[in-house]
Symmetry: C2
Subunit: 302 residues, 2 copies
């Protein structure tokens, strides 16, 4: 049965410079990327906060995807969380040039009744403390997906580890998995994430794909081969969002469903990185996602 997905995270305006293009004040943030990606697979509710500069056109992008924005708070006093970043030559790493928390500063999610009743929850990539506050407000979550990153491993390690014990799925990239578990062997690091208490763990390997560590087995999915990289921002959020949406949309959380969800995540993230924000994903939609899912399946077929 198709279930609803609750996505909690940041909603931001990003100004991004890549080696080939630049854009200013485009919709970003972990919750925006994740909710837009999830919306192709399940009814999605977004919980977060925006500022007084949040554009009607961006509200419309969310509602056009039938995303429930009843839990998207607006701070009338401050502008939206802002991030400015620049990718190095050949997209080899990036640096943050400016970050202004603005409305996001001190934000603690307030969940409305619809959000509190959620069964499928994606705790998008924000501070573990904020993720925890949201999780505590949900009455009876059935499947909690926890996305995180190096920043929180370094600055909120203990809180992150507490949260991991409550996660049905933990998502990190390869270097983060190694950092968190203090192990350089990717496979041993993945095993160690389960020992930390996550029910299952997904390790993202960028252009190489992703790995699933699960009690029922190990699984690898290749990345969709992207030839026209435009902006890598939000790739991880899109992967997590589409995966979470797929699982909620199927209303199943078994090993096989998660595997197919990773294909959906890989396909969806590949569309995200082919434009700024989610413009290409929103434009091409589910038909191109499905085509890419089939292609990913074909290139892994032995």
């Amino acid at each position: 049965m198709k279930e609803k997905l609750l996505v909690i995270g940041s909603v931001a305006y990003d100004s991004i410079e890549t080696p080939i293009d630049s854009a200013n004040f485009i919709l970003g943030g972990s919750a925006s990327y994740a909710a837009l990606a999830a919306s192709f697979f399940a009814p999605t509710q977004i919980v977060g906060i925006v500022g007084n500069d949040f554009k009607d056109s961006d509200v419309k992008r969310l509602t056009a995807r039938n995303i429930d924005i009843s839990g998207l708070k607006m701070d009338a006093e401050k502008p939206t969380f802002f991030w400015r970043g620049k990718y190095h030559e050949d997209f080899n790493g990036r640096e943050t040039l400016d970050v202004r928390l603005n409305a996001f500063e001190g934000y603690m999610p307030e969940l409305n009744e619809a959000a509190k009743m959620s069964k499928y929850v994606l705790l998008g990539n924000i501070a573990p403390e904020t993720q925890e506050a949201a999780l505590n407000a949900i009455r009876d979550p059935e499947f909690v997906i926890l996305d995180s990153m190096d920043l929180w491993i370094q600055t909120a390690n203990a809180k992150l580890k507490e949260l991991i014990k409550r996660a049905d799925m933990l998502i990190l990239n390869d270097s983060e998995a190694k950092m968190l578990t203090d192990n350089r062997n990717l496979i041993v690091a993945g095993d160690a994430l389960l020992q930390m208490g996550a029910k299952c763990a997904i390790v993202k390997n960028g252009e190489y794909g992703a790995m699933l560590f699960h009690k029922d087995g190990f699984f690898t999915v290749p990345a969709y081969p992207v030839r026209a990289l435009h902006d890598p921002t939000g790739a991880g959020d899109s992967f997590a969002g589409a995966l979470a949406g797929y699982i909620a949309g199927e209303g199943r959380t078994d090993f096989e469903t998660i595997k197919r969800g990773m294909v959906a995540g890989s396909a969806t993230a590949s569309l995200t990185v082919e434009s700024f924000s989610c413009y290409k994903l929103e434009e091409t939609g589910i038909s191109e996602i499905k085509r890419r899912c089939e292609y990913i399946t074909s290139i892994s077929k032995i």
Copy 2:
């Protein structure tokens, strides 16, 4: 029909220090690793040179695998090519502490009649000039696999590019593919290898697996998940050797055969890195290779 494989490359003694163990004067070199790996899939002939210190026990390791050593020359004046290396903490890179070409210095392959008649040829990882000399001596090669590395891209670029035009399959790792094609996008770099004239190209991605760029399609194979890394030396040579052996053993060079050959390469290389030299591979043999091939197939099944 099962065809013979000719393997040309270096035969060396290695002294290796890893973060967990060390070994002295163990059988190494691209041809040794490749021929031992190939021998599980096809009748294999090795062409190369050893020195006056070459041990009977190492000759026996080759002949125990039914490897034809009639083209393995012995230099009575000099010792065997010697390499001493040390892996950094957590196997994160390595450094060469000593290298002595010894008998290998100025070596130009002399092919006997059996070698000259070869149809399936693996030009193992040595100087392109030496690879070319061997290839020129083969009368009517049907499938030529060219293995190379960063050293030759940097020091013998033009000769390598000439050879690539004659290769039915080029094997490089990800950073080498990017270096050779001067492109940071792995997929575009893979495409560019075909434009350089290789009939097909395999890009190895270490612990993530490998990719095949082929006129009939794109394919990815995951690495076998190694939890007990002992010594990464020879992983690439073993992968190339098992892949080449598989193709020769099948006597077919189509897309589907190459895909299955990559699985064989991945499985075989995972055994190589779980011990020094090829000790574990030789000990566990084809039954464990087959088990790992099946496991690799299972973890990529969507």
